[in-house]
Amino acid sequence: MADQKEEGSERIPESFRFKQCVNILKSTGKKAKNLRELWNGIEAASSESVYHHTYQYFLKGHSLEYSNDFAQWAGESLEERVLAEHLSSIDPYEFADILDLRNKLLEVIDDYLETFPESKEVVPGNEFYFNETITMVFPVGIRARNLAEFLIAVRYLDAGSIYYHFYDARSRLGGKDDFSRWFEEVLAKKELAEKIRAMDPFMHTLDGIRQHIMEAVDEEVRKDMEVMPL
């Protein structure tokens, strides 16, 4: 994203260079058929595996019933809806590292097992499969030098690019996203940045996020264009 240029005394804004990420799925060969096995699996899983099943959930284009793979499996396959609700309310970005997130997941399952110790078992084929990913990050060859260009680019980008700059960025930038950072730090659009940051990342699909960003930027561009605001 770095592209600072000086032309004479005029400082040209740094352009936003869009990137995208693609996950290549790897199996760990481990699976769980009931809640106790899920607990054991989460405890033993690599950090990459826990990361994949939580942070990377939104890249899969799921509908909004749940917010991570563990919750989805608990709700859909185990049909333990209450547990699914508890697991779904865990916000991975609240945790400083994967270890804390893992402990929270285990704690929620522990609490549930205390109340409902008789854990159901799924039919063969519906087990939880612990996976990991290799993430490929690459520039998509599109840059935006101003909000108007940004608006057009966001409309046509693949969802993987929205994911990279909106979700993946939070792990890279300590909770912030690339878009709002660029709006604030390069374009000095603090209000717009705050609007983007105010979006609840768990309540939208990637296309929903795209739509919200477009609406916010569209409004900002219109405001900038108005010579005589009414």
């Binding site: 790897k26 284009g61 690459f138 993987g160």
Partner: protein, 402 residues
């Protein structure tokens, strides 16, 4: 070639393909399977080779040969990996290895990356000559016969990595296991856009009526595809909605049960002029394409399924699919969003009625289904994944910046 996918496949997939092409430029990539024609693997390889070459990769495709005995053994091997009980002797295993040894002597196996497709050529790894060796398993190995899997594992462990189509097919192994879903080619005869004349030609030749909604299932006549269940579901739905049923399949020459199932289907459909049963010859891709496009509701009511590429093909045509909740079908159908998942005849009948009575909902689901296939199951994505696996083996790390 790649340019033909522009505007169809996701832009990011094509960009990543180009980037990987730059990184792997002039390196050699060898694919080995056991047939040049027929079957999904050969079909994809035919399309993939020119794309790899265009990316600047020295792509080669070798085919192993063998005597009749060899292919009898590998057919049994294939069945046993899918859970069918078969008996094997040491002599059979020895013959499997021997034929591969003979092939290894005549084939050029030197390459920077070697992708071995399916179990027939799997022992070639014994004769590897450098490069990264990857075994690509295209078949459903969720419940293999243990003895057979153990035999195969001895070879698998000598690869640098393996690739399975669905996570549930993967097993605990000492080598890296990647999950790469299969794909369809949007430009092939089975999936490309058809003109009205082309569709009309199929409709007239097969005498399909267009005056009522069409329920369709395309699949082999196999008990696991539950054609009788489809007829029952159609009959229930027909009590409430006027419709016709088209069952299209091919006679599976390698399946002795095929004829028996076909006869049962004929028996169950006898006397109903609104059931159209079509046995299509091989290479009827355009006809299948046309039927999927004119159908109102498409079923894939499988009781057991590998990945279920017919589901992918139908979703690509913007149709909502009612699929059995088995194998790879739930990976494609998000219940209520891109189609419906069912587990019984009653469930299938109910969803047929729901779709027939709510054409707007069916249209929306169909659109979501097409987009889901576009972003996940088109061929450029599969090539992208193969190259990514190779690249990740040469550049270790969980996050690779290109």
């Amino acid at each position: 070639m790649i340019a033909q996918y522009s505007g169809i496949a996701p832009k990011g997939d094509l960009v990543l393909l180009q980037k990987l092409g730059e990184k792997l430029h002039n390196k050699s990539f060898l694919h080995v399977n056991s047939t040049r024609a027929g079957g999904g693997v050969a079909e994809i390889l035919h399309r993939m080779m020119p794309i790899l070459s265009e990316l600047g990769i020295n792509a080669r495709w070798e085919v192993i040969g063998g005597d009749e005995r060899f292919f009898e053994i590998t057919k049994k091997l294939h069945n046993a990996l899918q859970g069918k009980l078969e008996t094997f002797s040491d002599e059979m295993w020895q013959h499997h290895l021997e034929v591969n040894k003979v092939n290894a002597e005549s084939l050029n196996l030197e390459a920077d990356a070697v992708l071995i497709h399916d179990p027939q050529p799997v022992p070639l790894v014994e004769f590897r000559k450098g490069g990264k060796w990857i075994w690509r398993c295209h078949i459903d190995v969720a419940n293999p016969i243990k003895e057979v899997w153990d035999y195969l594992s001895r070879y698998c462990d000598k690869y640098d990595g393996t690739i399975f189509s669905v996570a549930k097919f993967a097993r605990t192994m000492p080598v890296d296991e990647f999950i790469i879903a299969p794909s369809i080619d949007p430009l092939s005869d089975k999936n490309r856009d058809l003109s009205e004349d082309e569709i009309r030609e199929t409709v007239e030749r097969l005498q399909i009526p267009l005056d009522r909604p069409i329920i369709l299932q395309v699949s082999r006549f196999d008990r696991f595809k539950d054609p009788i269940g489809v007829i029952k579901a159609y009959r229930t739905a027909k009590k409430y909605n006027e419709c016709v049923l088209i069952l299209v399949g091919s006679a599976a020459a390698d399946d002795p049960e095929g004829e028996m199932v076909l006869n049962e289907v004929k028996e169950h459909s006898a006397g109903d002029p609104d059931i159209y049963l079509h046995l299509l010859p091989p290479f009827s891709d355009k006809d299948i394409n046309a039927l999927q496009r004119i159908a109102t509701v498409v079923l894939q009511k499988s009781l057991k399924e590998g990945f279920g590429l017919t589901v992918t093909e139908t979703m690509w045509k913007g149709k909502p699919v009612i699929g059995g909740a088995t194998g790879g079908i739930p990976l494609q159908i998000t219940h209520g969003v891109t189609g419906f998942l069912v587990s019984s005849v009653d469930g299938a009948a109910f969803r047929i009625r729901q779709l027939l009575n709510n054409p707007e909902m069916a249209k929306k689901m169909g659109e979501a289904a097409r987009e889901y296939v576009r972003t996940n199951f088109l061929m450029p994505r599969q090539i992208r994944d193969y190259l990514s696996v190779w690249y990740s083996m040469e550049n270790k790390g969980k996050r690779l910046e290109l």
